[in-house]
Symmetry: none
Subunit: 403 residues, 2 copies
């Protein structure tokens, strides 16, 4: 039985700083050995000239056309935070933030409140029903979380309350003229009011205020989207699939498409994540699954921070877990969901390097894994939608057309 | 007048065994000279992740979208066997096989009966009409052949009687609820019964039985398909085209699209085929045709057999006819319909190497024709459907769009 591990180093692609990209600057003998023994290429994840979002890019790479399956981020954040969604639920991404007396947002992240503290507010926001619609709140990492509206006559077509910068909190507004959108906006505005009332009275906030810390006294919402079931990977592609990830979004995408999401202690989605624990979890998952998706977030975060050295070091850390995965005998694909160049501090259109290694892979002349070398690889330039057919063929499950 | 010879070495693409593919291991100075003086690339015949069948791949490479023009193999086998088809005919691929007294198939190929012997059964199976439908049988090579149903109210939507392994012969069953499908299944089942009765009584079988050889006492059918005329190449592409091939399937595809199929003595579709005779026939055909398709089957068969040395030697044999073709001054395209890696012994998804040589070709940096070198060629990665536009342009017949 063939197996495939897909390692996505988020935002890995880059453009040179003083002549070198982080991939070119990093010492990464194990990744380069995979390139030497395998086949490389460049991948345009969502097509030429499109800057991929992390959500859409992951859907595309995992074989789900974002044009069909993406209708906003809320659903993935909610699934990632562990809320079990039902068909028709409206999910929103949210932050715990700080507002002053005049409802002006003075800190969108309540001082990047620690995950453990933020978790304590959950109870205050439980058991809320507004106009017959249940509102489910779940915190995920630090100030981040999701809310879900469950009930009749609701719509995802509403605006955000999060102003995305300091300034007056926004009122949720309907984006179309339906009663459902108007009603949903009213419910969110009422929930916002309630969240402020309940959180302000929370003992932890009273304590934080005394300590001079920003209070987490408001829930700011954005990214409303409706949950519609997607065919699970087992059905769409006939494969069993597992996900090892730290970030809620990636777990959410994986749950959305029916992957088994593994709980890995120490997988934080930050640069301090326990990569060895993740690699070991991936190795274990290969025993029971055809396909394992291993997500590493920090390369993207360090790109957003403009931290060239940090991104380079993170690549060197990733290199160290490669032997553990290579030893499993599984095919390995190593790539990214998009480029996050450190000089740009944002996602960019640059295609990402990709390598495939294993029994069914035909080696090319590339022996170093970076943006420049991969451009001459045997895989050529591929689109993100070609990745899943490649994975299926490495699993020995490609179909013949004709006879 | 420009000319093009398209040489398709069936199943030529491969993956390395001990570091080398057959193309990399073969000594092939003339082919490499074409690569050096021409342009190379890799071709995904039916697109990424699709394993090409031989029938669909050839349709695609010759400029006929298989999604439009392919509806089963029977038609091509019947045309290849020399049956002249009429619109609405239902054609099936068939084998002469051996059944025991309880109608259990004990040899699907009647001991791979020789072509000359098998031909003698044709008369027994001639002149059969069942329920007003004429049944035309034609043997091609060894145990292989085709039958054609001609009449009103028939359908290709029926199952095979060939069990594809030893075991009870299957009954043809309708694949839909139409009366046409039910009726056609009945006709095939009656023909099967008749073939058993007539063949069992054949003097040659009585002789074979005495000699202890498997008798050819049944016709096993599969691959039913309906004949619908395709626009001939002359009309679709404005070119005159000829085919030099041994295998019935390839002749059948060529006839389907209106090519002139040349009879070449010694063209057998096996590793013992007379390549020089085929090259000479191609050379002769160039005098009267714009485009000559030269098919060589054995590279595929040797891949299916897992015979690395044999495939390598076959490539070296092909190399020897290149000067003869090069001297004609025609453009040469050398490629494959799909990969048949010797380690896999089956068709695979791996893109095939392709080279183009001649007056209108812009040379690149590739000077050896193999899978790894072609990946860096000037042609880049192309799809199978891009081959015919390339041929048209080499013929000097490409059109300008705009002014």
């Amino acid at each position: 039985m063939e197996k495939v591990v897909l390692i996505i180093c988020d935002g890995l692609g880059d453009i040179p700083v003083k002549g070198k990209t982080p991939l070119q600057a990093a010492r990464k003998p194990h990744i380069d050995a995979l390139a030497r023994d395998g086949e490389c290429g460049l991948m345009h994840v969502l097509g030429t000239g499109v800057i991929p979002g992390s959500d859409t890019a992951h859907l595309q790479l995992l074989g789900y056309e974002p044009f069909l399956y993406y209708n906003g981020r809320g659903v993935f954040e909610a699934l990632g935070a562990g809320i079990k969604l039902r068909e028709g639920d409206v999910a929103l991404r949210c932050n715990l933030g700080t507002v002053d007396k005049r409802m002006k947002v003075i800190d969108r992240r309540a001082g990047r409140i620690r995950t453990e503290e933020a978790a304590r507010f959950g109870k205050s926001l439980g058991n809320i029903t507004i106009d017959g619609v249940r509102v489910i709140f779940r915190q995920s990492v630090e100030h981040r979380g999701a809310i879900v509206l469950r009930g009749e006559d609701i719509s995802p077509n509403i605006t955000a309350t999060d102003p995305h910068k300091t300034g007056p909190i926004l009122r949720a507004m309907p984006l179309d003229k339906t009663n459902e959108a108007k009603r949903t906006a009213r419910i969110i505005n009422e929930f916002t009011r309630l969240s402020h009332k309940r959180l302000s009275a929370h003992p932890l906030n009273i304590k934080r205020k005394k300590e001079g810390k920003p209070v987490a006294n408001i829930v700011l919402t954005r990214g409303a989207s409706i949950f519609e079931k997607a065919p699970p990977m087992r059905k769409l592609y006939g494969i069993s699939a597992a996900c090892v990830a730290g970030g809620a979004l990636y777990k959410g995408v994986a749950r959305y498409i029916g992957m088994d999401v593994l709980d890995v202690k120490g997988a934080t989605g930050t640069k301090d994540t326990d990569l060895v624990a993740k690699a070991k979890a991936a190795k274990k998952a290969l025993r029971t699954h055809d396909f394992v998706f291993l997500h590493i977030k920090a390369t993207d975060s360090l790109g957003h921070d403009g931290d060239f050295k940090g991104k380079t070091k993170m690549i060197e850390k990733i290199d160290k877990i490669i032997p553990l995965i290579r030893k499993t005998g599984a095919h390995i694909i190593l790539t990214a969901d998009h480029s996050t160049p450190v000089v740009l501090k944002r996602h960019s259109v640059h295609p990402v390097p990709i390598l495939a290694y294993g029994k069914f892979v035909r080696p090319d002349r590339v022996s170093k894994f970076d943006e420049r070398e991969c451009a001459t690889g045997g895989m050529g330039h591929i689109k993100g939608r070609e990745l899943m057919p490649l994975i299926i063929s490495l699993l020995g499950k490609a179909r013949m057309f004709g006879s």
